[in-house]
């Protein structure tokens, strides 16, 4: 733990998650003096690789790299900062009880009935066109409504123009389906339950919604928009922590000062302006601007304090829906379990347990009443197949995203944790009968653990639920959009902002640009 080198910076960034690091890099490259303060002993927030059992390491938060847009990766030049991909273009495999798994994504062509195959091709084209039209929206701050600012008006006009350019057919379809639920949309187009299950999973992953919840088409479009419609999956060598390490190196190389184990106690305010931060160590650092990578609740209620904000705004922050429903199970495996009907190439990809959309909906039903799913949906990776260094020789790691596991579990997570672990092992075990025998150790991170480990209030991936009423122009809440806050000099750069979470990095870059735009 080292102390800041200077007493004043152009910008102090609170939190060294990937967005904070990206923001620091862009500001430092623009010649600003930047100090980034991370509370934990390591950087990267929820994009982190760490040991969970002796000799076994895993990407403890996000476990695949797929949302970071190619343009951003290029600009950051992470390759030069040590990032190597262990595997790219990974397929997705929807597991079927009968062994007739569905291979999709990457370069795979799913084996489908001819009607479904044609519908699938049309579907990918349509979503691809819409995603391409929406992609630029993620690259800039969302406009504000009703202001006199020229930038807001042109942004709105650009958005209108971009949508109109989709053409009448696609625009009509977007205006219709954009607000639909994924279940109904898939019903309109496909027959194969397995295909519908797999596509529905992408729409609900990380959200507190089921396939029948309106808004789930939007969350799917949002995922696709980030990557221009491609759904290429990659596994960095060394896990997602390697991305954070490369981002940290990029930030340092750009001249930012990056410190770990330096929790910020509070944001300092002078004459109604954020003027620096007080560290838990007692030291104070002054700054031209303070940028928070922490979630909105933590930023406003804990670090800043309600007394610097208007009551109506604070009520909105308090009402922000931030409860996660996604758990993460890590398994240390003695050997590779025998997955029936999967070849080695398929096994390296993303395995889904989402046999049909109703299965997901039923899994979601439990979460509404404070229960975990009795038959959860799973997204599984076996990273040691492409990156053996994560486990002792011959042994393996399984990283499993489990949904739904509510933040507030009626029975309490003390007993629930082991029961859910067993359910997940049994659920996955249905496809790999010897799984249970292979498990040497396990770790289940439920939302309350995610809150504790990564400092995300409510343990939600996206810091705040990704729903219309917390989306785009009203994300995280009206009054704190465009990475600004009601307090001059205080900005946000985390997943709670547009365009949200996932290891995407756009919030960090957009925030950096906004800061540079406002503070010349």
């Amino acid at each position: 733990m080292s102390a800041p080198a200077r007493s004043r910076y152009d910008a102090v960034i609170i939190g060294g998650g990937h967005n904070g690091l990206v923001c620091a890099t862009y500001l430092a490259r623009a010649g600003r003096s930047v100090l980034l303060l991370e509370a934990a002993g390591r950087l990267g927030g929820a994009a982190v690789t760490r040991e969970f059992a002796p000799g076994f390491r895993v990407s403890a938060g996000a476990h695949l790299l797929h949302l970071m847009p190619p343009g951003l990766l290029r600009e950051l030049n992470l390759g030069a900062h040590g990032l190597k991909m262990a595997a790219a273009g990974l397929p997705t495999v929807a597991l079927s009880r009968d062994g007739q798994h569905l291979l999709m994504g990457g370069r795979a062509v799913p084996t489908l009935s001819s009607a479904d195959a044609q519908a699938y091709t049309e579907w990918r084209r349509l979503l691809g066109r819409i995603a391409a039209a929406l992609h630029p929206v993620l690259n800039e701050p969302p406009p504000r409504l009703g202001t006199d600012a020229w930038s807001d008006r042109t942004a709105l006009m650009r958005l209108g123009w971009r949508l109109r350019r989709l053409g009448r057919r696609d625009l009509r379809e977007l205006l219709r389906v954009g607000l639909m639920n994924i279940h109904d949309l898939l019903e309109e187009r496909f027959q194969s339950p397995l295909l519908k299950g797999a596509l529905a999973l992408d729409a609900v992953l990380g959200t507190n919604y089921g396939p029948r919840s309106p808004g789930t088409v939007l969350s799917l479009l949002y995922r696709l928009a980030a990557t221009h419609g491609s759904d290429a999956l990659s596994l960095p060598e060394g896990g997602l922590g390697a991305v954070s390490a490369a981002l940290a190196q990029a930030a340092t190389a750009a001249g930012a000062e990056v410190l770990t184990s330096q929790p910020v106690a509070r944001i300092l305010v002078k004459e109604d302006r954020a003027c620096g931060v007080a560290l838990a160590s007692g030291a104070e650092v002054s700054a031209g601007v303070v940028i928070s990578n922490a979630d909105p609740k933590r930023t406003f209620l804990d670090l800043l304090g309600a007394e610097h904000l208007d009551a109506g705004f604070v009520r909105r922050i308090a009402q922000l829906r931030t409860h996660g429903v996604t758990a993460k199970l890590h398994l240390a495996l003695q050997r590779l379990p025998q997955f029936s009907g999967l070849d080695a190439a398929a096994l390296r990809g993303r395995l889904l347990v989402a046999p049909d959309a109703d299965y997901l909906e039923r899994a979601y039903n439990h979460a509404k009443y404070g229960e975990y799913s009795q038959a959860p949906m799973l997204e599984v990776t076996l990273p040691t197949l492409t990156d053996p260094a994560l486990a002792p020789p011959g042994q393996h790691v399984a990283s499993v995203i489990v949904q739904y596991a509510p933040y507030r579990l009626a029975e309490g997570w003390d007993g629930g944790r082991q029961r859910l672990t067993d359910i997940v092992i049994d659920t996955l075990g249905a496809h790999a009968p010897d799984l249970r025998q292979c498990v040497m150790a396990s770790e289940l991170l439920v939302p309350t653990d995610i809150e504790r480990e990564f400092g995300i209030t409510g343990g939600h991936w996206h810091h705040a639920e990704l729903a219309f009423d917390q989306f785009f122009m009203v994300r995280p809440v009206p009054g704190a959009t465009q990475y600004r806050t009601p307090l001059p000099g205080l900005f946000l750069c985390g997943a709670g902002c547009h365009p949200g979470g996932g290891v995407m990095g756009l919030a960090g870059r957009n925030a950096a640009r906004q800061v540079m735009h406002e503070v010349a």
Binding site: L301, A306, E307, D310, A311, G312, V314, R315, G479
Partner: protein
């Protein structure tokens, strides 16, 4: 207290003074006020008016909504809520203040009593729990509504001091304006402890008495008995409305609509527009609405509440105001109006567009005269004048004159 019917039969509560008030009411004019039934007029608003300006009046204040605010952050909470610096309010003092929403628009006004360190009593015209609860997020504070636990009586008028002294409140002569303290009233059934504040809504010498509901009738009786030879009388809301306009005080739902209730766009009013800039302390640190009010202050007001002196004797209730006699261009409207029997002037409070708010501006008010059901429309001169319209020196004298 009488046996209450269920709320769906009898939605309005009765104050502890209700039986006494009903006995003295000559014309049965009761109106609802903040969930209670209260007297509008006992016998004649004019006669009741003169008891405030000439002798002593009793006004049942019980329906005022009262909150007790305690906890380690009580002061921080109030300071973020209200536009004035509550930090300057010492125990034993009272302050009139307002609070706003995020847009700097008035939610309500009220008085804050500092009763100890981080212990306050807040009196408001309307219920505020929803807004106070929102304002309490992030503060260690307890807010309890105690409206029904405290009976309150305003004793106002030039002889009010003599009257309170007369019922035995020792030391009352030392109580200065905007101070409060506990006093003991000797009685046949034992002494009664009262909190008395030198506050009021009349602009005259006066006090407000706060007591246990159980003591209410004994206090009322003592005051009526002691003051009977000196013209003490209970008054209703109408008389109070006349004196508060003379004093230049504003009333929610008359002079502004709380931003907590407005449906239309642009009908909220800021304290700057209501002429309450003196209550807004931009230097004390942040409070809700500060940034919006600062921006409004820099922009300059679009409109403001002003006092009007209107030609003729007919109160200009709800009158539209124009820039010329022809009535072609509107300049605002009257919010409250009364004939002032003391000033012998036709007074009004009006919301007037910015170009015409300067003292001395001449406007025209459109009023309708009922000539035995033959209606006449009159355009009369309305001149912007300073407020308050009536401010007798006796209201501030300490000790007050003993008559």
């Amino acid at each position: 207290m009488s046996q209450e019917s269920p709320h769906f039969r009898q939605p309005l509560l009765r104050t502890p003074f209700h039986e006494r008030a009903r006995a003295l009411s000559q014309i049965d004019r009761f109106i609802p006020w903040a969930g209670y039934t209260t007297v509008d007029v006992f016998s004649s608003a004019e006669q009741e008016y003169f008891s405030v300006r000439n002798a002593s009046s009793l006004f049942d204040l019980t329906p005022m909504v009262k909150y007790r605010i305690t906890g380690a952050d009580a002061l921080r909470f109030l300071n973020r809520l209200m536009t004035r610096d509550i930090g300057k309010l010492r125990p034993g003092r009272v302050a009139y203040t307002v609070w706003c929403d995020d847009a700097g628009m008035m939610i309500d006004d009220g008085t804050v009593f500092c009763t100890g360190e981080n212990e306050y009593l807040v009196c408001t015209a309307e219920r505020q729990l929803d807004w106070f609860a929102a304002s309490a997020i992030g503060f260690d504070v307890r807010i309890s509504e105690i409206t029904e636990e405290i009976a309150a009586l305003a004793v106002q008028g030039p002889t009010s001091y003599a009257l309170l002294k007369g019922i035995g409140l020792a030391g009352i002569e030392r109580l200065k304006p905007f101070e409060h303290g506990n006093f003991t009233m000797p009685g046949t059934d034992g002494a009664i402890t009262l909190m008395v504040s030198r506050t009021g809504f009349t602009g005259d010498l006066g006090y407000e008495l706060w007591m246990e509901p159980a003591d209410a009738t004994a206090v009322w009786d003592a005051l009526m008995r002691r003051g009977s030879s000196r013209g003490v009388r209970p008054i209703g809301s109408q008389a109070l409305n006349m004196v508060r306009i003379e004093a230049g005080f504003i009333l929610p739902n008359m002079d502004f609509v709380s931003a907590a209730h407005t449906l239309r766009i642009g009908t909220e009013r800021s304290p700057l527009e209501l002429g309450l800039a003196w209550l807004v302390d931009f230097k004390k640190g942040h409070f809700t609405g500060r940034r919006a009010l600062l921006a409004e202050q820099q922009r300059g007001p679009l409109r403001q509440l002003v006092g009007l002196d209107i030609e003729g004797t007919k109160p200009a209730h709800n009158a539209l105001l124009y820039t010329e006699r022809s009535g072609r261009r509107e300049a605002g409207s009257v919010t409250s109006a009364t004939w002032s029997p003391t000033c012998k002037r036709n007074l009004a409070l009006a919301m007037v567009d910015a170009p015409y708010i300067a003292t001395g501006s001449l406007l025209w008010a459109e009023i309708y005269l009922n000539r035995e059901l033959v209606w006449e429309r009159r355009m009369v001169r309305a001149r912007v004048v300073e407020r308050p319209f009536f401010a007798p020196a006796r209201r501030r004298a300490t000790p007050p004159a003993e008559f």
